[in-house]
Symmetry: D2
Subunit: 337 residues, 4 copies
């Protein structure tokens, strides 16, 4: 249930509505908007009786929300969420963001050289993993705290905001000063303990879709973040698991127009994990933007073959320049009403 | 094994090479090219001994083919196959083809009106089913022979070549005069009896990917056509089956750059079956072309909601006009070397 | 809609009900039962108005059928269908049938030796392919007509009914004298032209589930056979396609209790294609019967490694003896009410 | 690389081998066995040079391990791992364990009544969730700490060891006194931070397969536990995600014989999550054991329809009694050599 308030209602009226919702045994969640304020009724199992709320001062309307997700839904928040990180905007009609960098943070010298190359190629944010979730316990797990120091250098020298994955809530304190956007990886999409912890910290969260997650499960994972108070959530499609074995994952670009229709949150595409093969990244970067994605997350390196991890899907900065040029062409498509 | 012949070898030399291959217990298949002639050795189970062939007059080289498919492969036929149907070219660097029309042929009056609308919207070929494969035996199975008469009217009045699905080899004789491109649907992709019959008739064949077909199985199905003598084969991605339930199928656009790399055959995308939902067709048409597809197969109608079949995924001619405009913008992307 | 007739209604009354259904624009299909006769109304798109039928003499009740499938459903035919082939019964509470033999028919001498071995191991029917659908056009496609001659020898010498796959309706005339049960393979499950042809011939049909077929699609494919007049249809689960790559297919044994609940048709399990690996066949044969399957289709050979095709999943007659013994133990489980 | 030591080698010799492995830059892990001691070389990326190790005193052989997993593999640990919890044994040829109970811990009175019912029906361990991972943040998340108190009552009154899921490493301290086996749910199978924490505590761990996990990924997740020092790990198949929509998940019973062949760890089957439907649980419990599983994890309740969560897949204690009886019959199958 979404309780729509009059644009000129008073703070006391808002508080009274919230108190009524609480008295009914539910939890009120304020949803600020440009032109209106709304209060979302959460915590109900079945339909909510709108009767007691309709009559309260300041209440304009009570709208039943039919999807299991609420705060991520356009029904509750019609306008696109636009997230500002440094000088970059993500979402809405902003220029598609290009976030690029190596899979893992490497030595400081190499990482700075990558940062320089991807910035020159048009990237406006830098991605690199300090802590790497790996299928094998014997594989390289990232440089950890040392990598955070390197990322700080990147941010200072190149003024590139940093996107990096958090795999353990206990790392949050260390990461929060260095990392501008905290990424939740596909394997942790339904690690609800982690999501709840991330809902209550100041950084935007980039939530990748799990390899076996339905659209609903993905949006519900985002709902955990929003229900916990975080407004700045970015979705990222990175490929699902299917029988199709010609690529590492099956990039489900169909999901892009659906997410844009159903949710106000920005959606990016990761053509690197989405294909697993360097020579296909540019084609799928084009396709992702053409489908309506609001940005890209690309693994890139000045010498891709020497990448510490995920070398096969890492592109050169030359390819990244090509993708930047493609973004200019694709801007001519305009939005689909 | 691919036996490369000298550009100036004689007909007698070609015949001698073919005779040697036959004597070894294999089957020779000539592969004509612009600048060279090659002979493909087929019918072998294991590696072929190149020794007896290398020494023959006119033989320049013997190349081992490592993929299970041969004639569909770029290893055997490096240049793009370009197929001409009426005044339309499909494949290579030709302008992406837009094939549009209703799911099923409707009454003559309505079908002609659809043809007029889609032609005005930029379609250069007309698609419509006379015989419809349906999950239920109780559902409308197409108008059959009567529909073929209607399709002839479309071809004559609007000079639109016709694409229509063949579901039974016994219909071939009836269809061949009316239909310019014979479509094999996803359910029949591995109906090898049908493929073998279609290899030996004059029309180009459009082969849709089966919903559970790997890339290799799809290309091997095309190989049945080429091995039977048909050169003009068009591939079409229309979505695969995965757990993902937000769309009718999961459009596997990743396959587009892979097919373009591995095969010389043209590849189209069908965003109608690929999504199952009208409002997502344009976004995925854009994405398909951006990924490198050489054309689109779109279900379109002057009044989509009244379509006999597949109404939910049929777009209006207005939307089709938008897609035509998008093709112009996307032409600016250029090819990825 | 299912029109239930009185047990003592006359032939003229049945004809009158059928005429009324035809007059309403639908197609009547008689469903004979032990204790009652019913007439199924097919060909309707939406709900059928029961009014005009309820009042007719002999009509006891009109029941709305809610599933898209009708004739395959227990709603229409509550009792198990039991199919008799020679001295073997398939379905209901009959002893689970064991159908075994090589993937392909081999030389006459080898094939007879296989038949002797599988019969000694407990098989009561013989399976072997004369015409093989193969992913590659260059692979062995079966011995064809010659194989049919060999199968006749097996039937005569060992009194084993023959199960063999039909891949092309044009082979029907040749096969029908030799083959006791015509198998439709997974790739042809939705080859509706073939299904329609097989509905109108005297042999039982064994319909394998397509690798990407939902339960509904599979039952609807069977519905094509029943709607065409064939009553003797056997279903066979042989594994679906999923991301799981440790076996050739993912045997979906969950489907067994569901089919037994929803349909009266017998269901078998094929643990050979269901796993793709010889050493797992016995475990999954056990599991299939434990799940409620009414029989097994097993690839077996006196010397599995030398099989013409599918050697990796073919078991020895020794393993087959073990499976026969397992069937005895599993008989102790009893049915689940 | 696995270094096999002589049965009569000295402690000093073992230490010397470990020191050599460390000096080579790798990590030694002792693998105790009944008849031999072995040391596993971990931390290598490529092949290990056996030369320096072969000559050391006490070294009998150096065996190259070809799978990415080592400690979970039979190559490293040939004998079945048998885990003892209270008076129950899990694994090897022990009687299959039946772990049953409600999805979530309910009120103390109801939970005790469930425990009494499932014990009477043959369960030897009790399962119930105190902390529930839920797709929706608005759904019931379990009774938490209060539930742990109830579980202690169950353990004391009915002498049933407790299996319960841990969703957050920060709950470990609270849970460890009450819970005998810590379960890692499907969604957390690749939550490596949680796995690493659980490797270093005294309770056995039951690791469910992720819904999109390949066999290798699942065994590698178990490898995280073993590499961290935990020996008592139980695997549990609970269904994977496929296109097949007739059941909640697709129970992949094919994996059971494969796991038994490749790993020494016990494997259970969860027919409740594996089907999602109460009326199919018994059939699939039978099938799971017939496939070779060493136990079952079943959601059961004295009044299934009133379950707090997962009511649709919870069986009555009557059904559980039937499953207990089935286990007796299935014991007659014997193992497959």
């Amino acid at each position: 249930m979404l309780v729509i308030l009059s644009p000129d209602c008073s703070v006391a009226e808002v508080a009274a509505v919230e108190a009524s919702i609480t008295a009914m045994g539910y939890t009120p969640l304020a949803v600020p908007g440009e032109n209106r304020t709304a209060i979302c009724v959460t915590g109900n199992k079945g339909p909510v009786d709108a009767g007691p709320l309709r009559g309260l001062p300041g209440v304009v309307d009570c709208i039943r929300v039919t999807k299991p997700y609420k705060l991520v839904s356009r029904e509750v928040h019609p306008a696109d969420t636009v997230i500002t990180v440094g000088r970059t905007q993500i979402g809405g009609d902003a220029t598609p963001v290009m976030i690029a960098g190596p899979c893992s943070v490497e030595t400081e010298a190499r990482t700075l050289r990558i940062a320089e190359a991807v910035k020159a190629a048009g990237a406006t944010m830098f991605r690199a993993g300090a802590f790497k979730p790996r299928t094998s316990p014997y594989d390289f797990q990232g440089l950890g705290v040392e990598a955070l120091h390197t990322l700080r250098q990147v941010r200072e020298q190149f003024e590139l905001p940093i996107v990096s994955e958090i795999v353990d809530a206990s790392h949050l304190e260390q990461m929060i000063d260095t990392v501008d956007v905290l990424q939740v990886g596909a394997r942790n999409m339904q690690n609800f303990a982690l999501l709840q912890r991330l809902a209550d910290q100041p950084r935007p969260v980039l939530l990748k879709r799990g390899a076996a997650a339905t659209l609903t499960e993905w949006l519900m994972a985002a709902e955990y973040l929003l229900a916990g108070g975080k407004r700045d959530v970015i979705l990222c499609e990175r490929g699902i698991r299917s029988f199709s074995d010609h690529s590492r994952n099956t990039l489900d670009l169909n999901v892009v127009p659906v997410v844009r229709q159903m949710s106000h949150l920005p959606i990016l595409v990761d053509p690197s994990h989405g294909t697993g093969r360097r020579e296909r990244v540019r084609a799928m970067a084009r396709a992702g933007i053409a489908a309506g994605a609001q940005g890209l997350l690309v693994e890139a390196h000045f010498d891709p073959a020497s990448s510490y991890t995920d070398a096969a899907q890492t592109v050169s900065d030359e390819v990244l320049k090509g993708i930047s040029a493609d973004l200019g062409v694709l801007a001519g498509l305009g939005s689909i009403e």
